[in-house]
Symmetry: C2
Subunit: 458 residues, 2 copies
């Protein structure tokens, strides 16, 4: 149902833009939710997208702002850049300051200064406060205008305060309660207020066991806490436990999706700014460096093979079989890496239990190495026949597979754990180092064993 | 702060269990939140975990149940299986029926029947209803005991109903409003009720534009809708628009994490039942089949090289260089696959815009192929010198890289899109097919070109 309505909306906007009726296209859009408007913008051609957004920002700044924050960050920033600075400021000050900050942080330094001057003082001050926290921390993604109640209120007074609150505060299910110096002291809920007599002091009914995060808590940890305790939002406090803001579950959801995308991309050597519909040259710019690094490691692996060319010249079938050992090491390492990187992201793997994880992965590697080694040897024997030379080559491939799958297990565990320990992204750099280990390890073990046993092979 | 308290708790439970004081360990645990108790269980040895959980299920069934639902599904199921059926039934009926259903669905058929008999009739009926929906649909993960208000109530009556509601219903930022035949007709919020006079009819203030999903909606689509519209929960209706249940954002969060893990694992050939701390033999069982499939494709690639052995025998340096082209194809394909698979999961890539995506990926492939080809040729020339033979081999490697990066782009886009179109998991099977294409394509293009030009190489 929703998607049918959406398709209708998209079709009529496209038709109207083709006919040059921007104003009527805007009328259609104004009937939609911000998320739908954003999706329409996303699907339009570059030219139409810019035209519609510019017109929308003039005629319905609020809807333009809300749609903007439903777009991906990069797409939003690109649209914003097509507007005049005055207009950008108008759009941004319609947004909650956490969303406005996201965009401003991505704009060029000089434009950023200009916008902070142009925006209303309160909006600008809030954005500047958020910008003062490091990227990826709770402080950067929180909403500072959190609705809090003083602990000395009665329930009746609290309900009155809630009725008076402007619709703009991110209103949640939880009611945070502070003392007269704004320290976070308790939490309650609207429903709880309705269950007790109106004269009850808040202090009596609030729960003092509040789960909170600090402004400098990593956003990935915030997401883990919210997911773990099934929260709808979490208060953010400063180092003195003063209430500084709130992070709601919809922001956490974005963090979780974003971090998952980052991990999936990083394991494959794709940067998170890349996207499926972005401009091709940006994708080239983002992917090419990774490919060139890999080219370097491929050349390194090739140089290992080059060192064994004398052996290959004598037993040329080795050239056909050598890639099996290296490739299988790469596959097994990819499995280990996926499990470790995901385990690190979900907080299941730590530096402390790393040794236990390593033992397990090595054990799995040994067993899988033996199994694959036996099958590979059997294939070689059936394929090339049971001459004593091919029996030995089958045995060599089996032994090399065991060795390389152990290398894969060790490298696939130790390398991401070490990066994490050094506060580097465990997904990003791991793949290339691990692949180097399994490529070099594969060629070295297979061709090395063959060279050691060369006199039995010729 | 939270993590310090947690470490203290874990340490004392460990110490008390070592001393054999299960009862005192339980006293410590009872001070924790279910998520913390679950984490303690997770960290204990197998033996202690079972002992603590069995004792907890006797002394505090509710806490045992709530902790259980914070464990991973597999860990929870394993713990449950160690209890008597009567005790399992007692634990499960303390859970919301959506959580109970998750566990029951994983238990053996005969035990499942037994449990449904042992559980209280209402609990058992709810679970049986949920089990009637297919796995992975909204119906399976919803909570059926949703709190709804009749549309003909006044605000005062609605507030009274909310005050009377048992604490067990999944509460309730949104208030769903139904007609006298239980059709979902509107939505409101507790705060909205407080802003109007008590005699106002609900009908007057409710919003009739309710976002809902159907019982047969895919859970991934539910997650996309909740994320897109920043909802705290979404009502689930049957085919007649009758309210059947609710899915809250914490369940959606679990779905999103689960699906992200599945994609990361699937791209690397790991099944989602695998986990970093599970038993090694299970990991072997789950990963070995994938490795054996890959062994098959590696042998296929080796047979391509085998067909060119006459060429390699004459120009043995080809053996060292051949893996570069195949490997780089694999790397480029992994990048494309990551972008496409993630784009499919987030709903950005569809069958409809697939052609546009394909053009882009091919263009990126051509440019990256040229860039890598030039660098690879330069490396070959510098490494082996500028003889006419090596100049030609450098040119061949460059051409083969362009060809193989185009193959990578096409395979990395078309294969997952096709799987998605056929309603198969685009992440799971794609990697192996795509790698086969780039391996075979790499060896075939490099060694094929070298064979065609062989008379210039010797």
């Amino acid at each position: 149902m929703q998607s049918q309505k959406f398709t209708l909306m998209l079709d009529s906007v496209r038709r109207l833009m083709r006919g040059g009726s921007t104003a009527r296209a805007l009328n259609v859009l104004r009937k939609g939710r911000p998320a739908d408007v954003a999706q329409v913008l996303h699907e339009l051609t570059d030219l139409d997208r810019k035209a519609v957004f510019a017109a929308l920002s003039r005629s319905d700044t609020k809807l333009a702002a809300e749609s903007l924050s439903e777009l991906s960050l990069e797409e939003g920033v690109e649209l914003l850049k097509t507007l005049e600075p005055e207009r950008i400021a108008e759009v941004l000050q319609e947004l909650p300051s956490d969303d406005a900050t996201l965009f401003i942080a991505e704009l060029p330094e000089d434009l950023r200064e200009r916008l902070l001057d142009l925006m209303r003082i309160e909006a600008s001050a809030e954005v500047q406060e958020l910008l003062s926290f490091a990227e990826g921390t709770a402080g950067r993604i929180m909403t500072p205008d959190v609705f809090a109640l003083k602990e000395d209120l009665t329930v009746a007074e609290a309900i009155a305060a809630i009725q008076d609150a402007s619709r703009d505060v991110e209103l949640v299910y939880y009611l945070y309660i502070v003392d007269d110096r704004n320290h976070l002291v308790g939490v309650s809920s609207l429903r709880q207020l309705l269950l007790v007599p109106p004269t009850t002091p808040l202090k009596k009914i609030m729960s003092t066991d509040v789960i909170s995060v600090r402004t400098d808590t990593d956003q990935e940890e915030v997401a883990q806490i919210v997911a773990r305790y099934d929260l709808l939002g979490v208060p953010v406090v400063d180092e003195e436990n003063k209430l500084a803001g709130i992070i709601t579950v919809d922001d956490v959801l974005d963090v979780i999706r974003e971090e998952a995308t980052e991990d999936i991309y990083a394991l494959a050597g794709v940067r998170s700014e890349d996207s499926v519909l972005g401009p091709p040259l940006r994708s080239v710019r983002l992917r090419l460096p990774w490919l060139l690094v890999n080219l370097g490691t491929a050349v390194l692996a090739a140089s290992v093979v080059h060192a064994f060319e004398a052996t290959i010249e004598k037993v040329v079938v080795l050239a056909a079989l050598q890639s099996i050992v290296a490739g299988m090491g790469g596959n097994a390492a990819a499995q280990t890496l996926a499990v470790i990187v995901r385990g690190l992201a979900l907080g299941e793997v730590t530096w402390e239990n790393g040794r236990r994880v390593l033992y397990k992965e090595v054990l799995v590697g040994v067993i899988n190495g033996l199994a694959n080694g036996l099958v590979a040897a059997a294939i070689v024997w059936i394929w090339f026949g049971f001459s004593s030379k091919m029996i030995l080559i089958g045995a060599i491939i089996a032994a090399a597979l065991v060795i390389n799958l152990i290398i894969a297990a060790v490298a696939g565990t130790v390398i991401p754990l070490t990066f994490k320990r050094l506060n580097a992204d465990p997904a990003l750099a791991s793949t290339v180092f691990v692949t180097t280990c399994t490529d070099v390890g594969g060629f070295l073990s297979f061709l090395g064993l063959a060279t050691l046993l060369l006199r039995f092979l010729i």
